[in-house]
């Protein structure tokens, strides 16, 4: 492989990985933006999304109206709705009673939710890996020197589309406006007649649905599921959200892609290589925060604990 080929291939790898990070990071960022909560359970929502989509696919026998792709699309929509509702339920049961509690306590509640989700899935699956069979194969096409499988192409397109839809939703609709308003000031929004609880629930729905989509895409692409699969991507997506500026939607996407690229190029660096890859990306994170403390797209604001 020539230098250029390697470069292009790693660029592609980084974009693909980055779009996964971005999708999960969006959920962290939205929830943080609106209620200032680091939602630890978000990574487990991603994992639950993977498992639920597998259950749905199995239920339909992997196809819908006899078509594998249609089956996957249907399963994805159903998964997003179910897991979105799960997110709303979690918000209702665990977080809403705590909106006036110390912030660290909500953090620990989120940790409790995370423990419940992943231990429940562990007990149900017996802690074993589940194969995720879709029969999509390795067929694909060449883009320059980079070989792109159909699955990869669809994944990138789907995640970009989801991000775009979300962006339009937040910038162009009334609900999006309400979300942005609540992020700025809860009380004023209340006085303006916005049903704050409903909008917060909507935020959880959207964030969880996106994570579920990412979880399903991970299952389809990587071919296996495990109750612990959310852990690493959770840390990474959280990092991505912070790099971009937590609470800022385009920031999450930017942070995700940037982190994906850092990791794929970090792997390739001679003499440093894969074992130092994460050290490399976390160091960049720290450097970014030291020099731009609110993340790449963040704005300055003062805070009180």
């Amino acid at each position: 492989m020539s230098f250029q080929e390697i470069f292009l291939q790693q660029l592609f790898n980084g974009l693909l990985l980055g779009s996964f990070y971005g999708l999960v990071a969006l959920g962290y960022s939205m929830v943080y933006g609106i209620i200032k909560l680091l939602n630890f359970a978000h990574a487990d929502i991603y994992m639950v999304g993977g498992f639920i989509s597998l259950a749905i696919l199995k239920f339909f026998g992997g196809t819908f109206l006899g078509n594998a792709w249609l089956g996957i699309v249907t399963a994805m929509i159903l998964t997003m709705i179910i897991v979105g509702l799960l997110g709303v339920a979690i918000q209702r049961v665990a977080y809403r009673p705590m909106f006036n509690a110390p912030r660290l306590s909500i953090l620990i509640t989120a940790l409790g939710v995370s423990m419940i989700l992943y231990n429940a899935v562990m007990v149900i699956t017996g802690g074993e890996y589940r194969a995720y069979k879709t029969g999509l194969g390795y067929g694909g096409f060449n883009m320059g020197s980079v070989y792109v499988t159909h699955t990869q192409a669809i994944l990138i397109v789907a995640s970009m589309a989801l991000m775009l839809v979300l962006h339009l939703f937040i910038t162009r609709t009334m609900y999006g406006k309400a979300m942005r308003g609540i992020a700025l000031d809860h009380d004023t929004c209340r006085l303006m007649g916005i049903n704050v609880n409903k909008i917060i629930a909507l935020t959880f729905f959207t964030g969880s649905a996106l994570a579920a989509a990412a979880g399903m895409m991970a299952g389809v692409y990587y071919g296996s599921l495990h109750f612990f699969m959310g852990f690493v991507i959770g840390i990474k997506a959280f990092t991505a959200a912070v790099i971009g500026g937590i609470g800022i939607i385009p920031g999450a996407m930017l942070g995700g892609i940037l982190l994906g690229l850092l990791e794929s190029f970090g792997t390739q660096i001679p003499f440093i290589g894969s074992q130092w890859k994460d050290v490399f990306s976390f160091s960049i994170l720290i450097l970014i925060l030291i020099f731009k403390p609110t993340g790449l797209l963040g704005k300055k604001e003062s805070e009180r604990m």
Binding site: S105, I108, L111, V113, N119, G127, V279, I290, P293
Partner: protein, 335 residues
């Protein structure tokens, strides 16, 4: 409009006095009495000192673990509870201590006791390196920076040759005290117990000190504290350094007890569990933190029978505790 306004207002929580609360009032009343409280503490002390003579090795092992977590939780409490800084990478400091002792002892054959000052020194340096540039950050950003440092520390000790790579270090020497090599669980039981008592003592002294009040001030209102002439960054840095020294010393003794350490012991989950214990018990409140540490160690041991369900149940309990007692089991009155 009025309807909506009403729905939006935060309603004050009014709870009726239950029989259970009546009971707890009585118990609380009893403990208000200084003499009762004193004799209670003495009783617990005597019991813990005598325990190894009358209990199994297993009980001692579990309690040794409990003393250990009391020390690290009190250390994290200084950072999180006293100074109000959210740290998600506390295991890194604990790794610094364990590896300092490990490397000095297994590579250079240095006596265990002689490694302790180095371990504290390494922790101070680590605290300054991590805290120095980052303590100006907003708390959530600080959280992610500490998480990043925690992961970096774990990966660095995993990748370097001097730290034994992923397999970690083995053959860490046992400490010798008054000519006796400490190797039995009983020895470490007492060693960690002494350490825990020391940590409690230091924590109380800090809580009542000038520094302790400065931390509280900053936690409550950073801007006002700064206006009053408190150097916010340096006072926070002190919290970071002292907290990391606690963890490092505990880590050193842990290394001597295990004689083998590996990077996985210092993973993100370890940091999270320590934080969980601190918040669960009641941030800033020393007896609360001790209680949190005990719950965290004893609950999984007590529920060994239920096997895979235990962490699930722990999660559910945690959720309910936090919803009904968001300030922790035993909160601090000063906040």
């Amino acid at each position: 409009m009025t309807e909506k306004l009403e729905a939006c207002e935060t309603q004050p929580v009014v709870r009726k006095k239950t029989p259970l609360q009546g009971l707890s009032d009585t118990v609380y009343g009893i403990f208000e009495n200084k003499r009762v409280r004193f004799s209670f503490i003495v009783l617990i002390l005597v019991l813990t000192l005598l325990l190894p003579q009358m209990s199994s090795r297993y009980t001692q092992e579990v309690l040794t673990n409990a003393w250990f977590y009391i020390v690290v939780c009190l250390g994290l409490n200084i950072i999180v509870g006293f100074a109000g800084l959210l740290s998600l990478g506390y295991a890194a400091f604990f790794a610094v201590g364990a590896y300092t002792t490990g490397i000095l002892s297994s590579h250079y054959g240095i006596n265990f006791w002689a490694t302790l000052p180095f371990s504290a020194l390494a922790a101070i340096i680590a605290g300054i390196v991590i805290g120095g540039p980052t303590l100006r950050l907003r708390s959530d950003y600080l959280a992610i920076v500490t998480l990043g440092f925690g992961e970096i520390t774990r990966l660095v000790v995993r990748n370097l040759r001097i730290t034994g790579g992923a397999s970690g270090l083995i053959g860490i020497e046992r400490p010798v005290l008054f000519g006796v090599t400490l190797y039995q669980i009983q020895h470490f039981y007492y060693m960690f117990f002494v350490l825990a008592v020391l940590a409690i003592f230091v924590s109380y002294r800090l809580y009542d000190s000038r520094l302790g009040r400065a931390w509280q001030y900053i936690r409550e209102d950073e801007d006002a504290a700064e206006a009053m002439g408190i150097n916010v960054v340096s006072v926070r840095l002190y919290a970071f350094i002292i907290g990391s020294v606690f963890a490092a010393i505990a880590g050193s003794v842990m290394a001597a007890k295990m004689t083998a350490i590996s990077p996985e012991t210092f993973a993100f989950m370890q940091s999270i569990m320590i934080l969980l214990a601190v918040v669960l018990g009641g941030m800033g409140k020393i007896p609360g933190v001790i209680l949190g540490a005990l719950v965290m160690v004893l609950f999984p041991e007590l529920s060994r029978e239920i096997g895979p369900y235990r962490m699930l149940i722990f999660g559910v309990l945690l959720l309910f505790l936090m919803i009904y007692r968001p300030q922790g089991l035993w909160p601090d009155h000063r906040t």
